[in-house]
Amino acid sequence: MERIMLAHGSGGRLSHELILNLFQKHLGNAHLNQMNDAVLLPGMERIAVSTDSFVVSPLFFRGGNIGKLAVCGTVNDLAVSGAIPKFITLALILEEGLPIEELEQIIKSVAGTAAEAGVLVVCGDTKVVERGSADRIFINTTGIGYITDRLVEPKRIQPGDEIIITGTIGDHGIAILSEREGLEFQTPVLSDCAPLNKLIDTFYLPGVKCMRDPTRGGVATTLNELAQQAGVSMLLKEELLPLLPSVESACEMLGLDPLYLANEGKALVIVAPEVADEVLLKMQSHPLGQNATRIGIVQEGKSGLVLLETFLGGKRFVGMLEGEHLPRIC
């Protein structure tokens, strides 16, 4: 019997297959099938909607907590879809025994982050389950925004376009891991968790073709999805990847690939080459985009193929996340 495994939720290939073979199969419709993070609803006066659930261990980490994450995740999904987030809903599943003080801290973060993003929490729901039926607190948020004339979708991506990331890669993944496992690197890594809508408002230009937030599965998995949907190939350059020194050394010690680590406050932006410089400058003028940089280009070639040019000049195949990376050196 096939059962749900943790990897089905990791945002990698198994998640992708689950969506295709189960959710789309039974629930499929024109909106859902776009497989976008947020969907624009025609006939609803330009309304966009997105939903996300949040489970994270630990609940509190350097740079944020589950409450902040719950707002950012949904706001960002709307924002990278070209919408302006306006309202969110907040549904909580609480485990019996959760200290009220912790809950209050989380809710304060929700409030603060919502204010920063300029969204209002407009309705909510709370369920409490018996001890052991949940891990302290699970949160679901649904975001509602309105559609702008920003035309961002994978179909617009063309060979020659440039791939930009709004900042350093893998911070959230390493922050969570080191917090959870008690790993102390040179300088502690902070989660990058942040709402991106204001940053996007700052740099958006019509030459921006597509945006995504590379959360679970990381930059690699997100670019794989985009390359497949757009029917193009992509080439990244290892030397261009922005990495905090601590993230770099964490990856080197632990044998992790930063391209597969989660980010919660970064956008991947595919732009026409003629506006790349301008978009970059605008990004860099915003506090959340200071480290924005080009990381690669879109190419002709096998649809969905993502390659990385390494420091040594050779190329490496960058696939979707597939479980953990097991040792191969023989």
């Binding site: 496992e181 044998g255 050779g314 479980g323 097991l326 050196i329």
Partner: protein
């Protein structure tokens, strides 16, 4: 009088190797009439006369050196009363079932031609004949005929044509025949493409680095005694400490640097002309640059094998670096355009010719271990010779894709398995492309189109994905099972056998990373009888590049309390942060991969005793560890055979049974070994003791397993370690255990694909 006419069929390597002229001459000598021709199934002879038995005997006995008869059949026929013996033109059959010869080192006769100022082959750097020259590397398709080789571009001159059709000439039907009037040409250029006179001898003499196009691809070449040139080459190639191969002018000159046994001499001077790994003479280290093979006591030596090499040795040097021209992690460069583009800034000069290479093929690398040849890399000179089986029969033509690193693949149909040349590490995208390219062209040369595929069980291997995408039936094969069956297949044995597989890493059935395994089985299945205890490998492949981290994690896991505290001084090269993180990894298991790898055990010991703490090429820590241990043997233990002494130097180890499986425990081994380190015992001695201990443990466990008195297979890349392997062989001999090892494939992952197809053949 006896029956007067017979038809004889020979199959095997019988075309393009001077077989028909040989038959012709023998027939003339014995007064036999009839004919000989090439057919799609080999060579057919119709012979009439009264010395037919003698004729047949001598045909078998005196076959040309490059020929290999695989099957022979004789039938009695009615005589037709021919008056002469003739070579009949071959019928142009579409697909021939004939084996293609590997490339062959230049023969003596051709060297004599090159030295003869009256010959049109005088100094001609492409001279060849039916006994030597390019074969596999220039062949597009079968049958082997000039039109289907990269020689088709060159039109024979009148003299060459005369030789080509004259059965008494050494170049009769030599497909790549050419002379200085009609053949390919070399051109020397500088980095900007400007033509220069000569073949680069002056440039080499002055310390220049040349990119030279040879038989199977480009080499980077420089004077091996020029310290400056060698250092520049190493820097430009970003090669870390990986040793360079050295071409010696002659075997006599090579002897100044290395010890050469008779069997090693045979290998060096064989028509395959591989790189042979040889023991360096301690006394003469001064001669060659230290940068050639840093940290190790061996040298990879090869002799000139193509006419151009002899021309290069017209210079005043005795040794040339001859390293494959490929950039780190990328495939061998074999076309002029590629060379000019990619070797810009690495080579100062380019010596290129206008005959295309069709199958890029690295030099083969071999070593004599326990009196038998062991392949480190199998390519030029050996590919595409098949492994011929009689105990296995493959009905569905199969592809075995091989492993992730040092990949070779295998195509099999019927009773012939063809293993491709070494391709490279599949994590490089360009290497993966090369795999696809060679898979396509190899199918044509060996005339096998697969319709099923075997692959490794590892979920992250690039070629696992490739195999899963194929529309064919597929079979996932456990890595070490394939290593075991590869050896069984080479020896044409099918019965269940105990195999000791000492290896880096392979994906295990329990999702752990295996590597020091005692498997009992055959192509139909196996049982895991014993293995090294599981230890946590921190950071996986990243950790494998930092063997001191492995050592730390292993020792931290194995030793507690005071025993652990005592080891503190050993970890000085690790930063506080590294130690802190490793401590957490050992405690929580985060990014800690449970492994029974033999390779990582050797790596850990290498780092622990200070031999190698940072790895710049695959296997470096273990290779340097072996070198250090072998040095101890050379210096101190001429009487190594004495079992008394052996037992004194061993470290402790323990065996225990867990769930019916025998486990080799190494806690005591590390305790003893660390004791020696702290007492200041030399690295040489510790390494030697460690090797001897593992050799002892292998045989002890084999005996404890009591799986009958059949032979025991040794396989896996760790058995490219001569010090270990020879100790295991001695121990086995002492206990009357017969050993089977790889003989025509590498024991490492280059032999994997062959094992995969034999196992898949049972399952599919």
């Amino acid at each position: 009088m006896k029956n007067e006419a017979k038809t004889i069929f020979f199959n095997g390597i019988v075309q393009g190797v001077g077989f028909r002229p040989f038959v012709y001459k023998l027939a003339e000598e014995l007064g036999i009439n009839g004919w000989v021709n090439n057919s799609s199934h080999g060579v057919t002879i119709h012979a009439e006369g009264n010395k037919l038995d003698l004729f047949y005997d001598r045909l078998l006995k005196e076959v040309p050196s490059l020929a290999k008869i695989v099957t022979a059949q004789v039938i009695d026929v009615e005589p037709r009363y021919y008056k002469t013996f003739k070579i009949v033109e071959s019928k142009a059959e579409s697909k021939a079932d004939v084996l293609i010869s590997p490339d062959v080192a230049t023969c003596r006769d051709c060297l004599a031609d090159m030295a003869d100022s009256n010959s049109r082959f005088y100094q001609f750097p492409f001279t060849n004949c039916t006994n030597c020259g390019p074969r596999y590397t220039i062949i597009h398709d079968v049958p082997y005929d000039r039109a289907l080789t990269t020689m088709s571009e060159f039109r024979m001159c009148k003299s060459c044509e005369e030789d080509y059709v004259n059965p008494r000439n050494r170049r009769f039907h030599a497909q790549p025949i050419a002379c200085k009037n009609c053949g390919p040409k070399f051109q020397l250029t500088d980095g900007s493409g400007r033509s220069l006179p000569g073949l680069g001898v002056d440039q080499l003499s002055q310390g220049g680095i040349l990119a030279v196009k040879g038989l199977g691809g480009f080499h980077l070449v420089c004077d091996a005694r020029n310290v400056e040139a060698v250092r520049r080459l190493r820097e430009r190639k970003e090669r870390g400490f990986k040793p360079f191969a050295v071409m010696a002018r002659s075997i006599a000159v090579a002897r100044e640097q290395v010890n050469i046994l008779i069997k090693e001499e045979e290998l060096l001077t064989s028509s395959s002309a591989p790189i042979v790994i040889l023991e360096r003479k301690l006394a003469s280290r001064g001669g060659l640059s230290e940068d050639i093979a840093p940290g190790i006591q061996t040298l990879g030596i090869l002799l000139p094998y193509a006419p151009i090499h002899y021309r290069l040795f017209e210079g005043p040097y005795d040794f040339l670096i001859m390293t494959s021209a490929n950039l780190s992690g990328r495939p061998l460069i074999y076309s002029n355009d590629e060379a000019l583009a990619e070797l810009q800034g690495i080579a100062d000069y380019f010596l290129m010719h206008n005959r295309d290479i069709y199958h890029p093929c690295d030099d083969s690398v071999v070593q004599l271990i326990g009196d038998e040849i062991v392949f480190h890399r199998r390519a030029r000179g050996y590919v595409p010779l098949p492994i011929l089986m009689s105990s296995y029969q493959v009905e569905t033509p199969l592809l075995g894709v091989g492993g992730e690193l040092k990949n070779s693949f295998c195509l099999v149909a019927g009773q012939r398995a063809f293993v491709s040349q070494y391709i490279g590490d599949m994590e490089g995208y360009e290497n993966l492309q090369r795999f696809h390219q060679e898979l396509e062209s190899f199918q044509r040369v060996v005339n096998i189109v697969p319709s099923a595929v075997a692959h490794d069980k590892h979920p992250n291997y690039q070629l696992t994905n490739f195999a899963l995408e194929q529309p064919w039936p597929k079979c996932a094969v456990q890595h070490h099972h394939a290593h075991l069956v590869s050896v069984l297949g080479e020896w044409d044995r099918t019965e269940p056998t105990l195999g000791v597989i000492c290896d880096g890493t392979g994906y295990g059935d329990d999702h752990c990373i295996w590597g020091f395994e005692f498997l009992y089985g055959n192509s139909s299945g196996y049982e895991r009888k014993a293995h090294l205890e599981y230890l946590g490998l921190p950071g996986g492949d990243a950790g494998a590049k930092h063997p001191l981290r492995i050592a730390y994690a292993y020792v931290k896991t194995l030793l507690r309390g005071e025993a652990w505290e005592k080891t503190k001084p050993l970890w000085r090269p690790l930063s506080n942060m590294e130690r802190r993180i490793l401590d957490r990894q050992v405690d929580t298991g985060v990014q800690l991969f449970q492994t029974s790898s033999a390779g990582r055990l050797f790596d850990a010991v290498s780092a622990l005793i200070g031999v190698c703490i940072k790895v710049t090429y695959e296997g470096q820590a273990a290779i340097e560890l072996e070198s250090v241990g072998a040095g101890f043997l050379q210096d101190h233990l001429e009487d190594e055979e004495s079992s008394q002494k052996n037992s004194q130097v061993l470290y402790s180890f323990e065996t225990r049974v867990e769930e019916g499986v025998l486990i080799l425990g190494v806690r005591a081994l590390f305790e003893d070994l660390i004791q020696d380190v702290l007492l200041g015992v030399s690295k040489e001695e510790i390494s030697y003791r460690f090797h001897m201990t593992i050799a002892q443990a292998i045989v002890d466990i084999a005996l404890q397993l009591e799986v009958g008195d059949g032979p025991m297979v040794l396989s896996g890349g760790v058995f490219q370690n001569r010090l270990l392997t020879e100790a295991v062989l001695r121990n086995c001999q002492r206990h009357g255990i017969k050993v089977l090892r790889s003989r025509s494939l590498p024991p490492g992952d280059g032999g994997l694909a062959f094992g995969q197809i034999l196992i898949a053949n049972e399952v599919l």
